[in-house]
């Protein structure tokens, strides 16, 4: 069993969101970078669990980014995974990134490709589906459970008000959401081992870019909270009805 786990860096969930260069670039000053939580907590940890259940499993991590993403990929290797591949290019276009991952995946012959359900910065939720289409593989999005029996995966995916369970023969691409696994903390042994795990750098393959971010903006600030006395909660319902017109 060979698993490819797609890893992206993202700003820490508490990072201040601001923009520079006439609002065309994310302001990275003072930003702590983390492994995108969906990639780490759900897809990577589930891959590690599958390896724990079947020691013959190999886990490769793949990331698309410049050299500054290496601390993130080392951190991911500290959690688990056998080796990492960094595709040496920075891009914000989902199709370009997916094309890079698909090219690596084609060469590696993976049984299972995991992505997080989205990155918490660009919220595209696109890479998994695009990779699946480029590889002509089935795709299960927003998985909340993932189990393997031999070559057959049983996956639950999020639907409105519940979940849908499906069975699929490997190979398959799966985007992982909450429920697939629980967050883990890397231990010292893992951190030490990660230092010597192979981290291969490959140059990008030719691919198209389909979108371009022109600029960013921040939503208008809230006017401020209108407080209602706890002695008269009914007044809140009146305001929601008459003023906000929400009920």
């Amino acid at each position: 069993m060979k698993i490819l786990v797609c890893i992206s860096k993202s700003p820490d969930t508490t990072a201040k969101i601001a923009f520079t260069d006439n609002n065309t670039k994310f302001d990275t000053a003072g930003v702590q970078w983390i492994i995108n939580p969906y990639d780490e907590w759900y897809s990577l940890v589930r891959a590690i669990e599958l390896k724990e259940a079947d020691a013959s499993t190999t886990i490769h991590l793949v990331t698309v980014g410049a050299a500054d993403v290496e601390p993130i990929i080392r951190k991911a290797l500290a959690l688990g995974g056998d080796e990492a591949i960094r595709i040496n290019i920075e891009s914000h276009d989902s199709f370009y990134i997916a094309s890079q991952i698909a090219a690596v995946a084609k060469q590696g012959g993976y049984d299972l490709i995991f992505t997080g359900k989205e990155t918490i910065d660009y919220n595209g939720s696109s890479i998994g589906g695009m990779v699946a289409e480029l590889l002509e593989l089935p795709f299960i999005s927003l998985a909340t459970k993932f189990d393997l029996t031999g070559n057959k995966a049983t996956v639950a995916r999020e639907i409105e008000g519940g979940e849908e369970i499906c069975e699929v023969q490997l190979p398959v691409v799966v985007s992982c959401a909450k429920g697939v696994a629980e967050q883990r903390i890397p231990n010292m042994r893992g951190i030490m081992a990660a230092r010597t795990k192979p981290l291969k750098v490959v140059e990008p393959s030719a691919a198209e870019t389909l979108t371009a971010i022109q600029n960013f903006g921040l939503p208008p600030a809230k006017a401020g909270v209108k407080l209602v006395s706890a002695d008269n909660p009914a007044d809140l319902i009146r305001l929601l009805h008459e003023e906000a017109k929400m009920i």
Binding site: T13, N123, G162, V225, A234
Partner: protein
């Protein structure tokens, strides 16, 4: 050249999110000087011609039992056939659970630029630029699409449904439907409850409720408001509530009209999942709770005292007490 709207059907019914996309599609078609057409895959119990009231002129339906089950690979293949046949320039989806699976596949298949999570109509005054949410709703980006065919996945509850009247011509489309490699074995739904991502009102509880046994007051308020239930991450992690109710950065992101947070302090990660709600109400006994800064209305008080009174007031308002 036309605008093609994917009409999302589940268990024979058109999803509410599709009415938003149909309205958006009709408005976009008007802006581009063309017509909006819909596509329905599989069988449905609905009167498809009546969907013309949202402004679409034609609905292409592909009837094939394979399409009654959700498989993004099969659906993408068939949508691509229809899009190419009618010469669609823009294909629209809701950025809901199904749109998130199909739109990226179609983007890769047609080499069509995709903007997912769009919040308004594109600016076509100079190119084709779509505004979308980024950084979990903490910011937005204007994304330019330069490809011939373009795909937009519209953020749920971001565009107001409008009925302009009219009837659509329903056309049976003869597509080649590939075999599905997935087998759907079951669908588990919490019956009788409003789905969280489709709800206009959401009532959410946090650690301030002290334990799962106290959820009755939250449920009562939700029922009175015909609202969906949600919770904060610590509540889901402690298994007080199922994880599919967890809203926030790492759970589900929602954008209801009204979000009522009870006993939730409002950590930045929680706000990231709910900050696109149109009106936020916070009930917390701690006046310093950070959530009050993001709220429109608030009550500083004990949930166990305040919430049942809110429920009574709602019942009174709706004449159901």
């Amino acid at each position: 050249m036309s605008v093609l709207v994917f009409i999302d059907v589940a268990e024979g019914h058109v999803k509410k999110a599709s009415f938003e996309v149909l309205t958006y599609g009709a408005d976009l078609a008007k802006q581009l000087g063309t017509t909006a057409e819909g596509i329905v895959l599989g069988s449905t119990n609905e009167d498809l011609a009546a969907l013309g009231k949202y402004g679409v002129t034609k609905i292409h339906q592909v009837k094939n039992s394979t399409l009654d089950h959700f498989d993004s690979q099969v659906l993408t293949n068939v949508i691509a056939q229809v899009a190419q046949e009618i010469g669609a320039k823009v294909v629209l989806f809701s950025n809901n659970v199904d749109g998130k699976a199909i739109a990226p596949r179609l983007s890769a298949r047609l080499r069509a630029g995709l903007v997912s999570g769009a919040v308004s109509l594109p600016d076509t005054s100079n190119g084709f630029v779509v505004k979308k949410n980024v950084f979990s709703g903490k910011a937005f980006a204007n994304v330019s699409l330069t490809t011939d065919v373009k795909i937009i996945a519209l953020s749920p509850n971001a565009y107001k449904v409008q009925e302009t009247g009219g009837t659509a011509a329903v056309i049976s489309f003869n597509a080649t439907v590939p075999a599905s490699r997935l087998k759907i074995t079951s669908i588990n739904k919490v019956s009788g409850e409003v789905p969280l991502t489709e709800a206009e009102i959401v009532v959410s509880g946090g650690r301030g409720l002290k334990g799962p046994e106290n959820w009755g007051i939250v449920e009562d308020l939700a029922h009175a408001l015909h609202a969906a239930l949600a919770c904060s991450r610590p509540v889901a992690d402690a298994h007080w509530r199922p994880h599919n109710e967890h809203v926030g950065q790492t759970g589900i992101a929602i954008a209801p009209n009204l979000y009522i947070a009870i006993g939730i302090s409002g950590a930045i990660q929680h706000l990231a999942g709910v900050n696109r709600s149109k009106v936020i109400v916070v009930i917390n006994k701690d006046p310093e709770a950070p959530f009050f800064k993001a709220a429109d209305y608030g009550i500083v008080g004990d949930a166990f005292d305040v919430v049942p009174k809110l429920t009574d007031a709602v019942k009174k308002l709706k004449g159901t007490s």
